[in-house]
Structures are given as structure tokens and as C-alpha cells.
């Protein structure tokens, strides 16, 4: 008996077309082979090297079940992995971002390439393990590489949960997060007292509060530092867009303001990974290319900060 004719739905057709478009947007394999891998730095607390640029998912990957936008996000992830990226960061607070990442990981068969970083975000401590399990299912990973207490929500209980999960082998690494420069006193106290692998905070060429205490303390304790909001959610690059790059930006290989800012961030020796978020393949390419030599030295970093402040 002949097989029944298959019906091609509009959704499947759209999805296929966008996937095809995404695939053709990727650089040829030969070019990828010649490209050096992104700069990586060892995180003493975990004894592993991670590429200095990762991928955030706040807002950008919260696309619901929109088939077109899901495939665009998959194309972003494809470019990220093609250029050697590893860390993708999300949270149960980010709407459908976790499911979007899971969609992309499944389509790209990239479970072995991703360093899966997520968060625990609940004020009900007993709810933590169930939330982590729901997040894990969204991602489709066997376990997370890193789980962090999101913005210090119920941090005592949630950090205790995560440390117990780490001891049981249910997660490899644990950390805490803050953003916008908030609650650095509490972050510092936890960094001193708790066996953290990572701390996540906001740091860029204009938000430099972390340089005073948190970044030196992270170096001293060997704690990895993940940097969120590198572009202030795009507002920093928008503000600088009308200004010409200084001629001396070529000394550090920065071809755009985004690369200028990223190179400033990742050149701090305490920083392990910056996690810019984007919906655009060309921006991933630009961001990942920033994880390359040369990086600015201390003198040039001061010059970069002074220059942006003066604009």
C-alpha cells in the first residue's frame, strides 16, 4: 500500500524556510576552520577555561512560540556555536527564553557544546528543586553546568539548595547574581563566606563600581565573574552610535563600539565571561570577534574609560 501523502503545514514550511535562511547565513566551513577560537580564560574555582564572550537571553530569546522568531534565535545560537561560543545564560524569570534555548539546542544538536548557565528564582525555598527541574526540561539538558541565585532572591535558602544539589552531583557549579550595581555589600559578604564558583554582576566601561571591591575579591578567591548588561541593554551602544570610534581603537582591534566595550570588559583579569544578548546573527559575529587579541592593557583601559566619559 502506498504511504499516505504527507501534508506540509504553513507553520512547518515557514519554519523550514527560516532554518534554510539561517543555515545559509552561516559562514562556510572552510572559513570557520581558519578562524582562531575565541579567547578563553581559566576560572580557578572550577579549573576550566571558558570563552570570554557568551550569550545572554534576557528579552532577546523571549519569543513565545512564534515559529519565525524561534528560528531566528536558533540562527543566533548556530553562529555563536560556530564561532566557538559556549556559555548561554538564562533564568526562569525570562519568560519563554529557556524554551527558546532548548529549541535551538535540539535543532543544532549542541548539547555537548553548550555551557548551560541558569538560575533559581523563587521566594519559596521549597519550590527551588521543582523550578530547577522545570528549567532543565525547557533546556533539554541532562543537568545544568551552572545554577545561580537570581538577584539574591531568598538567597540564604536558595544558595543552600544549590550547594546541596552540587554535593549530590545534580549541578556542576553554583553562583549568585546581581545587576545594575545593586546590593554589592551583600554580594561581597556572600563571596567571602560561601563556596561560590561564580558571581554574576553588571560591569562595563561606564558602570565600574565592581572594580572597587567585587572584581579584586573575585580574583583573590578564584571566583569566576560573569558580566551582564555589557551594553546597558543596548542603550550604551545606541548612545555611542553617533560618535566616531577613536583612531587608537585599532590598537586593540576594535572595529565597532560593541567590540570596544566588550574588549574593555573582558580585558579585566577577573572577568571570566561577558554575556551580551542579541537577536541578530551579525551582532553575534561582532561580539564573538571581540574575544580576540589584542586586548587593552591597564593604561589603555583607563584611556578607554576616560574617552567614553568625555563623550
Amino acid at each position: 500500500m502506498p504511504p499516505p501523502p504527507s501534508r506540509l503545514s504553513r507553520r512547518a514550511l515557514l519554519s523550514g524556510l527560516v532554518s534554510l535562511a539561517a543555515a545559509t547565513a552561516l559562514p562556510p566551513l572552510g572559513a570557520l576552520a581558519q578562524r582562531p577560537p575565541p579567547l578563553a580564560r581559566e576560572v580557578p574555582a572550577i579549573g576550566e577555561r571558558l570563552p570570554l564572550v557568551g550569550l545572554g537571553s534576557w528579552i532577546t530569546f523571549n519569543v513565545g512560540d512564534d515559529p519565525v522568531l524561534l528560528e531566528e534565535c536558533t540562527a543566533v545560537m548556530a553562529q555563536f556555536f560556530a564561532m566557538g561560543g559556549r556559555m548561554i545564560d538564562s533564568s526562569p524569570m525570562y519568560g519563554s527564553s529557556q524554551a527558546t534555548i532548548g529549541h535551538g539546542l535540539g535543532k543544532l544538536d549542541a548539547l555537548d557544546r553548550v555551557y548551560a548557565a541558569d538560575k533559581i528564582w523563587t521566594s519559596r525555598p521549597g519550590h527551588g528543586p521543582a523550578q530547577v527541574e522545570a528549567s532543565r526540561r525547557h533546556w533539554g539538558v541532562p543537568r545544568f553546568d551552572l545554577l545561580q541565585v537570581h538577584n539574591l532572591v531568598a538567597w540564604e535558602a536558595n544558595l543552600s539548595t544549590l550547594l546541596a544539589m552540587k554535593a549530590a552531583g545534580e549541578v556542576r557549579h553554583v553562583g549568585i547574581t546581581t545587576s545594575h550595581g545593586r546590593r554589592h555589600d551583600t554580594i561581597e559578604r556572600i563571596m567571602r563566606d560561601a563556596p561560590l564558583d561564580f558571581v554574576q554582576l553588571t560591569y562595563n566601561v561606564v558602570d565600574r563600581e565592581a572594580e572597587r571591591r567585587l572584581l579584586p575579591l573575585a580574583r583573590e578567591k578564584g571566583i569566576g565573574v560573569i558580566v551582564n548588561r555589557p551594553f546597558r541593554q543596548g542603550r550604551l551602544t545606541e548612545r555611542l552610535a553617533g560618535e566616531p570610534l577613536p583612531e587608537w581603537a585599532t590598537e586593540i582591534g576594535a572595529g565597532s563600539w560593541a567590540q570596544f566595550i566588550l574588549k574593555f570588559i573582558i580585558s579585566h583579569p577577573a572577568v571570566s565571561c561577558a554575556i551580551p544578548a542579541t537577536t541578530r546573527v551579525d551582532h553575534v559575529r561582532e561580539n564573538m570577534a571581540a574575544a580576540s587579541t589584542p586586548l587593552p592593557d591597564d593604561a589603555l583601559r583607563r584611556r578607554m574609560a576616560d574617552h567614553v566619559r568625555a563623550l
Binding site: 523571549n62 513565545g64 512560540d65 522568531l69 519568560g95 545593586r182
Partner: protein
Amino acid sequence: MIGMSEWLSYRPADFLMFSPRVYERLFELHNQALWPLQPLALMLGGAMLFALLRPRPWSARLVAALLAVGWVFVAWAFLWQRYVPINWGIRYVIPLFVLQALLLIALGVPKGGLDLPRRWGVRRALGVVLFVHALALHPLMALVTGRGLLGAEVLGLTPDPLAIATLGVAAMISRGPCGWALLVIPALWCLVSGITLATLGIPGAWPPLLAVGLALLARGWPRDAPTA
């Protein structure tokens, strides 16, 4: 504990979880999924407008019942199925939509519950203006703002025109307590929606905000003196 100073350091944009493009595509996907319900919804809206302009003894009950169905349908089809996946906070709004439907049924469906005005005055005029905007002009905002008709927000299928239409009815009905009771939830939704649109930078934030102002103005307007 988060202190007051920390809360004050947040800006409206810090609470936005999605991009303007994702928000606009919600309506495109919603319209694609519901087609051809849009003409039916517009016809029912037209029937409600006719009932408001030429009130009969059953008109208020018809309007209240259709609006109640709209609030429940929008809560399920738009808020729960489309909006909650990208904005978890909307989960807490859904019970308010159901409560608004229950209020419409409790206050409007029993005989003599709502009293639609038969004579023209400021309240009725403002109420009709709001309803006409919700029915006929609000869907066309999609054209003005560059979204195209596929992104049109249709009365009865999406929350903003439904809330604006309900504000119009609440503004014009004669019994003050009922009017105020039916006004609160649509006004709150319009404020949230207007602030969301303004924060996203999407054109079209002003109609829901202006609708709240007009409804409050109408409700606060002295009762129109009966004419012989």
C-alpha cells in the same frame, strides 16, 4: 529584603521582558489563528453600538452579556495562550478579566440592571465616542502605526479595544455605582497597556490612556438634566 531606595532605582523599562517586535507579532499570530472570527466580532460590536444608539428594554442586557463573553474570551485566547508565555505577570491579570465578566453579568444581565441613557448629553456622547473608537478606529491604528491590518486589534478579540469599549459603556450608564464598578478594571488595564506601549516605544500608547481620562471625565460629569 529589598529596600525602598532599591525599588526606586528601577525604571519601567527594567520590567519589560520582551521586545516591541515580539509584542507586535502577538497580534499578527493571534489574528492568523482566529481568522475568520474578526468579521463576526465586528458585526457583534456593530450590534452593540446600535443597541447603545437606539436603546430598547433589552439593549443593556445584550451589551453586558456580549461584553462579558468578550472579557472571558480575551482572557483565555489572548492573555493566557499568547501573552502569558512572554510575560508571566499577566497570569495575575487574568482573574481580573474574569471578575470584570462576572461584574458585567451580575450588574447588567438581570432585568433593569443597567440603565442606558435615551437622551443625549455629555456622558452619553463621550461613551459613544469611546465605543466607536474601540469598534472602528482602534483596529485601524495598526495601519497608522505601520503594523498593517494583520496586526489589527479587534474589539472582542484583543484587550485594548475591549477595555476601551467597556469604558464607553461604563461612562454612559445612568446608575453611578454600577458605572464606577464597571470602570475600574478596564481603566487599570488601559493604564498598564498604555505604559507598556510607551515604554516599548511603540506608537499608539495614547488611545488607552486618553480613554481612561475621557471615561473619568464622563463619569464625573454632573448628571445630564432630563429634558422634556
